[in-house]
C-alpha cells in the first residue's frame, strides 16, 4: 500500500477533476432550480461516503468490544474522524443549497436535525478519546460508537418515515431522476469514496504510528525509573 499510495493519489486526483468537470459542465441544468442544484453532486456523495465511514466505525467498534483487537480500535477512530469530515461537508453544503431553493438556511426538520445530532455524537466520541485516559477509554468510546450508530438509520430513513422538507432520496425514492444526473452522481461518489479511503488509510497509519511512539515512550520512562 505504501508504494501504491502515490499512484492511487494521482488517480484519485484525476477522478475528482473529471467528476468536477462532469458536475459543472456536462450535467444538464435543472429546469426548476437552475445551476444551484449542482451542489447536490457534492452534497449527496459526501453523505453516502459519510455513512460508509460511520458504518466502518460501528463494525470496528463491535469487533473491538468483542475481541479487544487494537487494530479494530485504530480503524474505528480513523473512520470516525474521516466520517466527521464528510458529515461537516454535508452540513455546510446543505444550507448553501437550501438558502436559494427554500429561502432559508436551516430548518429543524427530522433529516437535518438527526444529521446534526449524528455529527455531535461523533464529535463527542473524538472528544472522549482525546481528553480521557486509562484502560477503559477505548471500551467507553466503542460503546458510545455503537449507541451513536443507532442514529444512522434514523438519518437515512427519516425522509421515508416522516414528513420532511428535505428532498426525497436520489436512488430508490420512486422519483424520476435523469439518467445522466444519476451517472454523474455515481462518478462523484466514486471519486469522493476513493479520496476518503486514501485519507482514511493515512489516518489509520498515523494512529498506528502514534500508538507505537507512545509505547516506546512508556518503555523509556520505565527504563529511566
Amino acid at each position: 500500500m505504501k508504494r501504491a499510495f502515490p499512484i492511487l493519489a494521482v488517480l484519485t486526483a484525476a477522478l475528482l477533476s473529471f467528476a468536477l468537470y462532469e458536475a459543472l459542465v456536462v450535467a444538464p441544468t435543472d429546469q426548476l432550480q437552475g445551476d444551484v442544484y449542482r451542489i447536490i453532486y457534492y452534497h449527496v456523495p459526501s453523505a453516502w461516503t459519510m455513512f460508509i465511514f460511520f458504518l466502518v466505525n460501528f463494525v470496528a467498534s463491535v469487533v473491538y468490544l468483542i475481541r479487544r483487537n487494537l487494530k479494530a480500535d485504530a480503524v474505528a477512530v480513523a473512520a470516525a474522524e474521516v466520517g466527521i469530515v464528510f458529515c461537516t461537508v454535508v452540513l455546510v453544503t446543505g444550507p448553501l443549497w437550501a438558502r436559494p431553493v427554500w429561502g432559508i438556511w436551516w430548518t429543524w426538520d427530522v433529516r437535518l436535525t438527526s444529521t446534526l445530532v449524528l455529527w455531535l455524537i461523533y464529535v463527542s466520541y473524538l472528544i472522549l478519546r482525546r481528553f480521557s485516559s486509562g484502560g477503559q477509554m477505548p471500551v467507553l468510546a466503542a460503546a458510545l460508537a455503537v449507541f451513536g450508530a443507532l442514529d444512522m438509520p434514523l438519518v437515512y430513513f427519516s425522509i421515508w418515515f416522516f414528513r420532511t422538507q428535505h428532498p426525497q432520496p436520489v436512488v430508490g425514492g420512486g422519483g424520476s431522476t435523469d439518467p445522466r444526473m444519476l451517472h454523474i452522481w455515481l462518478i462523484n461518489w466514486a471519486a469522493f469514496l476513493c479520496f476518503g479511503l486514501l485519507v482514511f488509510w493515512s489516518r489509520y497509519r498515523l494512529e498506528v504510528l502514534r500508538r507505537e511512539v507512545e509505547e516506546i515512550q512508556a518503555m523509556e520512562s520505565l527504563r529511566e525509573a
Binding site: I39, V92, L96, L209
Partner: protein, 42 residues
C-alpha cells in the same frame, strides 16, 4: 452561481484543512521519533 461556488469551495476548504491537521500530526510524530532516537543513542 454564488451559492454553488461557495459550496464547492467550502467542501475543498474542509478537506484541505483536515489534510493539513493530518500533516501537522505526522510532522509532530516524526519529531518525537527523532527525539526518542537521540535519547536512546545518547
Amino acid at each position: 452561481m454564488t451559492y454553488l461556488y461557495a459550496a464547492y469551495a467550502a467542501t475543498w476548504i474542509i478537506h484541505i484543512a483536515y489534510l493539513a491537521t493530518l500533516l501537522s500530526r505526522y510532522t509532530r510524530l516524526r519529531n518525537e521519533i527523532r527525539e526518542l532516537k537521540t535519547v536512546r543513542e545518547g
